[in-house]
């Protein structure tokens, strides 16, 4: 049986771990709640954007716009924004992102295309270093979720790159937040914008084609002008939405992990307390026996 001092040391260590994990759980759950509310409040906006985009691309009179043209291979380059976390202790959150990055790198090699990776999060940077890939850019000017202006800047930069033919596709690798019970790492295609509209319409929370009567409607200004602004808005919103969803998923996954860790530490403390009491009891019995046998010998 281990001596009581060792057991006490282990129990103290487990208690310290439990303190740290429960503090991390509290911090992450507060952040999670905050980001989750932000995400939930924005859902109606995303749904409406999807409806408008659907209206525009399914209109009887075709809208002519460079962003709506058939995707072609022009530069042989694809861009990828990879969103990971800065800190660990969030379970398989980053590993799933790494798996997606791996797949993209492999595919780019197989099809002989160049892949430019725009990274967010220290864990992603570490992984890219391990793969010996130099990121095209690292987003360091915001911690988790960009401000509206920063997201607009990112969206506009890639739209320009796409329109000038420097990139053929833009994807965002992130952990998508479907609900508190379901998050999954995936790649969202942002450009060409038709793919994005397709994704937006399937993700819309309301089954809205029911409410869309095929009616004629007035457009002011022209369909092309409206589509240009709408596409810009969709791209910007999707970029900020991905960062937000990634943050929600990260904090939720950290809450779950830290809760499990705290529970395990508490179980361990209980077991060690039992062991300690048993060991202490044994020690007392031995000491008593020593005294009794010493008294007997002295007689």
């Amino acid at each position: 049986m281990a001596n009581t001092r060792n057991i006490l040391l282990r129990r103290n260590a487990a208690a310290n771990i439990s303190k740290v994990t429960s503090t991390m759980e509290t911090i992450s759950s507060v952040r999670y709640r905050q980001y989750y509310n932000q995400w939930a409040e924005g859902l109606a906006f995303y749904d409406m954007l999807a409806q408008l985009a659907y209206l525009m691309v399914t209109a009887q009179s075709k809208v002519e716009h460079p962003l709506l043209e058939e995707p072609k291979i022009r530069s042989n380059t694809n861009a990828l924004i990879a969103i990971g976390s800065d800190r660990g202790l969030c379970g398989a959150y980053n590993n799933e992102i790494f798996r997606q990055i791996d797949t993209h790198v492999r595919m780019a090699k197989r099809f002989g295309r160049e892949l430019k990776i725009y990274a967010k999060g220290k864990k992603v940077l570490g992984y890219l270093e391990h793969l010996r890939i130099k990121p095209a850019h690292v987003y360091e000017n915001f911690s988790e979720v960009p401000t509206a202006e920063q997201a607009n800047e990112i969206g506009d930069f890639f739209t320009k790159e796409y329109l000038s033919g420097r990139i053929d596709r833009l994807g965002i690798v992130y952990n998508r937040f479907f609900s508190p019970a379901s998050q999954k790492a995936q790649t969202l295609t942002v450009l060409p914008v038709v793919d994005l509209i397709d994704d937006l319409t399937t993700r819309a929370t309301v089954i809205w084609p029911w409410e869309l009567a095929f009616e004629d409607f007035e457009l002011s200004p022209s369909a092309e002008d409206i589509f240009e602004t709408l596409a810009e808005m969709i791209i910007r919103t999707s970029v900020s939405g991905c960062f937000l969803e990634a943050a929600v998923s990260e904090h939720l996954s950290r809450v779950v992990c830290m809760r499990n860790a705290s529970d395990n530490a508490d179980d361990m403390i209980k077991e060690l307390t039992k062991d300690y009491n048993r060991a202490r009891q044994g020690q007392i019995t031995v000491e008593l026996l020593d005294i009794v046998s010493g008294v007997e010998a002295a007689k």
Binding site: Q38, E41, G42, A44, F45, Y46, M48, L49, Q51, L52, L55, A148, A213, E215, D216, F217, E218, L219, S220, P221, D225, I226, T229, L230, M233, T237, S240
Partner: protein
């Protein structure tokens, strides 16, 4: 009001951060990209780009009229249902009187040219400030003594 336009319709104002308004109303005046756009019940289906200005929502049952300074976005009207999508919205809705007064007095000082920019967040341009002052007049709020 007579004819087919008599009655109420639903109006919803959405931003990426929140649903700012969802109610029935008698009329809406919206700053479209090319001038003011008035919407009554039974308006024809419409999709329009929104400009910069004050959106006025009138004749809301059981409450006073609502005003918003909006900058860019879209408005869609379909089957007596109007949805406005906007990125940048300033409103007095849901704010306590002290905050509203502070906003109005800040806007007054910007309009009067007395305010210098302190931080990026607090900075509002003069056009926006003018709209806030106008919105305060429409909504009859703000401290008259603070006007510059």
């Amino acid at each position: 009001m007579v004819g087919i336009s008599y009655g109420k319709f639903r109006v919803v104002l959405l931003t990426p951060k929140a649903k700012l308004l969802d109610c029935r109303c008698g009329s809406v005046v919206l700053p479209a990209h090319d001038g003011q756009l008035g919407v009554l019940r039974n308006h024809c289906p419409l999709l329009s780009k929104v400009g910069f200005g004050i959106m006025q929502v009138r004749e809301i049952p059981d409450r006073s009229d609502a005003f918003f300074v909006i900058n860019g976005g879209f408005a869609r009207v379909s089957e007596n249902h109007m949805t406005v999508l906007a990125y940048d919205v300033i409103t007095f809705e849901g704010k306590d009187s002290e905050t509203v007064e502070a906003m109005v007095s800040h806007a007054h000082s910007v309009v009067a040219g007395q305010e210098y920019i302190r931080t990026q967040q607090e900075a509002i341009d003069i056009k926006k400030a003018k709209f806030i002052v106008h919105m305060a007049e429409l909504a009859s709020v703000g401290a008259p003594g603070t006007s510059g």
